[in-house]
């Protein structure tokens, strides 16, 4: 009786096999982007970073007081505490802390990005060469990298910056700090890139590319680099936060950024002696510094998860 009820549905016309996802096919990078857009950590980190970059580029959007104009400071108002006119209080010179915190973002972001880019390019480039050519090229570059690697970062930077001296630091601005940090940090990137290149180099597609007539340069740039660069991007993003806190640390110690340039590290150093009577002087620059480092670390974490799900 049930025979009559189970009428076979008309056979479906055989469909052409469809790719898994409609639209643009997924490469590693578009896959990673797809993951990132759905990652809350990435979105929070990206929004914060966007605001901070905006702050660094156009501080006047966030504060109507120009912190670099000494006329805005009034010694009579020194260490006033939080008031309606001065949301974050005023510092030892009677300058508005809020506007100084906003203007201080530029140095931090600049040092972070420049150092990350320079270490990424130098360390990544040398790592590519070392891993690809191997033998004496690798031995030479790796040993040089290890020498730099052996120097404790903060001590090394202190040494370099005190040798360079305060006058030169003032003349070259953020570049002195950037170069000191980059000099000590590139070996880390070299190591990561080198390891990643060596594993990519032994992949069948590299041998296959060679067997199909590709030359060394083409193999290096087209077949190895795109497959080996993900860990370097991840490390560089994570390092950005580290460089920002290192800059603050060095400025705090008096060897980094020099006044009158505004830096969070310098502001924290100025506030240190009066912490008990005027805690807001230290609190707000430290808070912004923490938020900035956190934002870049969140971004780096999310990028790592997207590019290498195995590390999660």
């Amino acid at each position: 009786m049930s025979n009559e009820m189970t009428v076979a549905p008309p056979p479906q016309p055989a469909e052409a096999p469809q790719p898994a996802k409609p639209g643009k096919p997924a490469s590693l990078w578009s896959d990673a982007w797809y993951d990132l857009r759905r990652n809350k950590v990435f979105i929070i980190g990206a929004v914060l970073v966007f605001l901070l970059v905006l702050m660094a580029l156009f501080p006047s959007l966030f504060s109507h007081v120009d912190a670099y104009n000494p006329a805005t400071c009034n010694l009579a108002n020194a260490r006033q505490g939080v008031t309606g006119a001065h949301w974050f209080g005023t510092d030892n010179q009677g300058c508005d802390t809020y506007s100084r915190v906003i203007y201080g973002a530029r140095v931090s972001i600049l040092v972070g990005i420049l150092t990350a880019v320079i270490t990424g390019v130098v360390g990544g480039g040398l790592g590519l060469v070392a891993g690809f050519y191997g033998r004496w090229v690798d031995i030479l570059l790796s040993r040089v990298a290890e020498i730099f690697f052996a120097i404790p970062a903060i001590l090394g930077a202190l040494l370099i910056l005190s040798v360079v001296g305060r006058d030169n630091s003032q003349k070259w601005g953020v570049w002195v700090v950037v170069m000191a940090l980059a000099l000590l940090a590139w070996p880390l990137v070299l190591r990561i890139m080198r390891a990643s290149v060596i594993s990519a180099k032994n992949q069948d597609y590299v041998v296959a590319a060679r067997a199909l007539g590709a030359g060394s340069g083409r193999i290096m740039m087209r077949h190895i680099l795109p497959n080996a660069i993900a860990p370097v991007i991840v490390t560089s993003t994570l390092n950005l936060g580290v460089f920002i806190s290192a800059e603050a640390g060095l400025s705090f110690l008096g060897v980094g950024i020099q006044a009158p340039t505004i830096s969070w590290g310098l502001m924290i150093a100025d506030a240190r002696a009066r912490f008990l009577s005027a805690p807001e002087m230290l609190l707000f620059p430290a808070l912004l510094l923490s938020i900035t480092v956190l934002a870049f670390v969140m971004l780096g974490d999310a990028v790592r998860d997207a590019l290498d799900p195995k590390l999660r």
């Binding site: 052409a16 096919p25 590693l28 069948d204 597609y205 067997a211 199909l212 007539g213 087209r222």
Partner: protein, 348 residues
């Protein structure tokens, strides 16, 4: 024994063919690997030749030196640790081993190309297949992006990938194993090579797909009259496609034969063992024959005939004297002192 080739200046022109020279001839090739444990003799005097339009199957188990020989022909051995202490690889009569790196790279991929075993790992995962096929034309033929792309679609059609136009922008991982191997083949034939080396092209594939890929290779060979070297450990795969077979063991060729003669009547105990260890329906229920023992350790090759520790025909002489390739007939040879016994013995 042969005159060392004198035509080392410049490359032989395409199509220019020395009448008495085969398209590709490997002559007494030796390859060794210098490792921390000692010197591994991977290839010990291999010779074979290939004519245009001919298919040679090189048969052997892992470690027999079949792939290393192919890599030496391609010039993709890492040297060091590899070294080629002796031998010639003549292409149109020109010894490739004597060419400069630059001349060599003019041949690699363009005149002699190679298909690898596992197409998924042999394709670059970050570029679309279309980009990778088109790259061959852009780099070696200097075509524009648009023209190269058109050629890529043509090639994908030629290796019979359904919906080539729609699939050209897909990435390798979006294709099935058989389709990926077709893409690999498309890339390798892109520049119309005269010799195509396929190193276990079907090992990673289903049996039904294996047959399709073999058919495709055979057809492409016929269309363009190229020489095809099929490297395999699977006797079944090559039976319908190959013209002649070279069986390798322990870095040497142990038997040369036209394919059907070899199946009918093997001339070497190793070949015979291989043929008898193929499962057959008519022998269902009986224990499957297996060659006893293990393949030789390349660092410590057995003395005399490398196969003697595993050989049911062995005599004392086998442990001391390396058997030369005895000629059985015009087209057949066997490196066994007692080939007559093997040859006449029928099946055990």
């Amino acid at each position: 024994m042969r005159n060392p080739s004198v035509e080392t200046q410049g490359l032989p022109a395409r199509g220019a063919h020395a009448a008495d020279e085969p398209l590709l001839a490997v002559d007494n090739l030796h390859v060794e690997f210098h490792t921390r444990q000692g010197v591994a003799h991977a290839v010990n005097g291999v010779s074979y030749s290939l004519n245009a339009g001919e298919t040679l199957a090189v048969l052997g188990e892992s470690g027999s030196g079949k792939s290393v020989t192919a890599q030496a022909i391609m010039g993709i051995l890492d040297m060091p640790p590899a070294r080629i202490p002796a031998g010639e690889i003549r292409f149109h009569g020109t010894d490739l081993l004597k060419l400069s790196d630059k001349d060599r790279s003019q041949i690699r991929g363009q005149r002699i190309a190679m298909v690898f075993q596992d197409a998924l790992s042999a394709l670059n995962p970050v570029f679309t297949v279309g980009w990778q096929i088109a790259e061959m034309f852009r780099v070696h033929r200097g075509m524009s992006r648009g023209d190269a792309r058109k050629k890529a679609v043509e090639l994908m059609d030629r290796v019979r990938i359904p919906g080539a136009k729609q699939r050209i922008d897909d990435y390798p991982h979006q294709f099935s194993g058989g389709m990926r191997q077709r893409i690999m083949i498309a890339m390798s034939i892109a520049l119309d090579p005269e010799v195509l080396i396929a190193d276990e092209p079907t090992t990673a594939l289903d049996v039904t797909v294996q047959a399709q890929i073999m058919e495709l290779l055979a057809e492409l060979r016929q269309e363009s009259n190229m020489g095809l070297i099929l490297i395999t450990h699977d006797l079944g795969v090559v039976a319908d496609v190959a013209d002649k077979i070279a069986v390798m063991y322990g870095g040497r060729i142990v038997e040369n034969a036209p394919v059907h003669d070899l199946y009918r009547n093997p001339g070497h105990p190793y070949t015979k063992g291989l043929l008898e260890s193929i499962p057959r329906v008519d022998l269902k229920g009986q224990e499957l024959y297996a060659i006893k023992g293990m393949p030789p350790n390349l660092l410590e090759m057995p003395s005399g005939c490398a196969f003697h520790p595993r050989c049911p025909y062995r005599r004392d002489e086998c442990a001391t004297a390396v058997p030369p390739l005895y000629s059985i007939s015009g087209t057949r040879s066997s490196a066994c002192h007692y080939w007559r016994e093997v040859f006449d013995g029928g099946s055990r």
